[in-house]
């Protein structure tokens, strides 16, 4: 909605208010010689009427007038919203009452000149104040334009946001349906291939080999679809809950019990704090990082995985520790095969793997999912490693999450 434009560029019209006609005349002449447009009023009341009707950039006001004196007029003028920004120069034969000088009217435009006045001085002041008024008006105009532009932009953003939300919801829907419908025939391929193998090919090694490839490929595809589904489905509206991170890690330890035993792995977990997290998602983060640590362990050396945390001052991987800082930095270190840090930008990208599937199984989604979740938690994720020397993954998370208010459409 456009604001009413009473901030139009004013004509530089000056109003002279004095009850003595000779004063009006001399002032008017002086100003007109200097190419100012002028108007006159012989009393406070007349002045007020004219002010309501016209736009002036400056008012020169005689203080001593019968009826309303200059001060009263000034008070009234600054009371009208139309004229509150108009500068006023008082003309006084006597010493100006300090009140009016120190009071500070809204526009800051108040000055005085004593009679008999110095024409050059008066002109200087007139020039200054008309310029001041012009600038103030321009400023107000710019402000109105900006406010209008901001409102337009906000409206555009709201609409875009709504469109994105809809599109996102649709995409998630497609991803879910597609994966669901894709998994079913895949399951049949696996199941019936296995049946063929068991029932008819037990004693035919050539055929067995080919069938094994069919079965393992379909298994791989099933995992891929599953992982993709989880990645795309990462819920945007899940709530942050104050959670004891030690409990999450314990849960994951239990889930990975079998694998930990098989590899003879040792897990050392230092005390972790409570933090605002989405429990299911943060559990997934620990699960992925821990199962990676187990998977990429060195052949002859039992995996040792250490998890510890410290409070830090800033949301940065290298932030200084601070015992009551608002963030927590969590380290997950393993003694596995490590990786070359030149691949750092790749490992968190979806489907980018550093090994072939023959060396290590996996779909290349695990770390991408971790990154997505950490981003969702407004955190930072990093890693350090060297080939043959293990890896350390670092997460920095805020302890408290402030829910972002949704951009809602205004009513009406």
């Amino acid at each position: 909605m456009l604001k009413p434009l009473n901030y139009i560029c004013p004509s530089a019209m000056i109003l002279i208010v004095d009850d003595k006609p000779e004063n009006l005349f001399s002032l008017k002449t002086l100003l007109e010689i200097n190419r100012y447009e002028t108007d006159t009023a012989a009393s406070g009341e007349e002045a007020l009427k004219k002010i309501l009707k016209n736009n002036y950039s400056l008012i020169i006001l005689d203080v001593q007038m019968p009826g309303m004196d200059g001060y009263e007029v000034a008070e009234t003028i600054t009371g009208y919203s139309k004229s509150k920004d108009i500068p006023i120069i008082f003309l006084s034969a006597v010493h100006i009452d300090k009140r009016f000088i120190t009071k500070g009217f809204a526009s800051g435009g108040v000055d005085y000149v004593t009679k008999p006045f110095d024409p050059d001085l008066l002109l200087l002041k007139v020039k200054t104040f008309t310029r001041l008024h012009a600038q103030t008006s321009e400023l107000n105009r710019i402000k109105a334009t900006l406010e209008q532009k901001v409102e337009e932009r906000t409206r555009e953003l709201r609409e875009m946001n709504k469109a994105l939300e809809t599109s996102n919801a649709e995409l998630q829907q497609y991803a879910f349906l597609a994966s669901h419908d894709l998994q079913e025939p895949l399951r049949k391929i696996t199941t019936f291939s296995r049946i063929v193998w068991d029932k008819f090919l037990a004693d035919r090694p050539g055929a067995e080999e080919y069938l094994a490839k069919i079965i393992s490929s379909s298994e791989r595809m099933r995992k891929l679809i599953n992982d993709l589904l989880n990645y795309s489905r990462l819920s945007n509206d899940a709530l942050f809950v104050s959670t004891d991170l030690n409990d999450l890690v314990k849960d994951v330890e239990t889930d990975l019990e079998l694998s930990i035993k098989e590899k003879g792995a040792r897990l050392e977990v230092g005390p972790l704090p409570k933090a605002d997290v989405i429990p299911g998602q943060m559990r997934q983060v620990f699960q992925n990082l821990l199962s990676n640590a187990l998977k990429f362990s060195r052949q002859d050396i039992p995996p040792v995985i250490e998890i510890w945390a410290e409070r830090v001052a800033e949301m940065k991987l290298d932030s200084a520790p601070e015992s009551d800082g608002p963030f927590v930095r969590i380290y997950i270190r393993d003694n596995g095969i490590g990786f070359n840090e030149i691949y750092l930008d790749r490992i968190f990208t979806i489907f980018q793997r550093l090994h072939s599937r023959h060396e290590y199984e996996g779909t290349g989604i695990g770390l991408a999912l971790v990154k997505k979740i950490v981003d969702r938690h407004n955190g930072v994720l990093g890693a350090q490693s060297a080939e043959g020397a293990g890896s350390t993954f670092t997460l920095v998370l805020p302890l408290i999450q402030v829910p972002v208010p949704p951009i809602t459409t205004p009513h009406g």
């Binding site: 998994q183 079913e184 399951r187 049949k188 696996t190 199941t191 019936f192 296995r194 049946i195 068991d198």
Partner: protein, 150 residues
Amino acid sequence: MAKQFSFLLVDDDPDDTFLFGEVLRDVASSVVLSTAANGHEALEQLRASNPLPDLIFLDLNMPRMGGVECLSTLKSNAELSRIPVIIYTTSSQSKDIEETIQKGAVCFITKPSNIKELSEILTTIVQSLPTNLEPAIQTLSKKGTHFIIC
């Protein structure tokens, strides 16, 4: 004469139904298997059945009436609610597990993709009838190689 047991399998997937029948026949040829393609058909069949089956295997994603709705209806009927229901589905979603167990299913089995596992499951179940179903289900849930939650 040993009692002849009967199972009802409610599943819209013809391949799964076929396989289930095959494996069941191998494991226990005396068990009679009837099938329905969705919840609605199952309820119709049950209403006309005499005697009622000893066990119902119930899929979740089916047209017309899915497993959850069918389960609710079964459990709200005095007679039908006495039949133990085992969920037999492709899903492994914990929300499905929670919902169906809470609605009265005794067990949740994610369809295994190999015949051997299905065979083991059905063997265990058949051998436990008529009165030892609960402990048999406990045994199954400890196997842990695929999702069997009870």
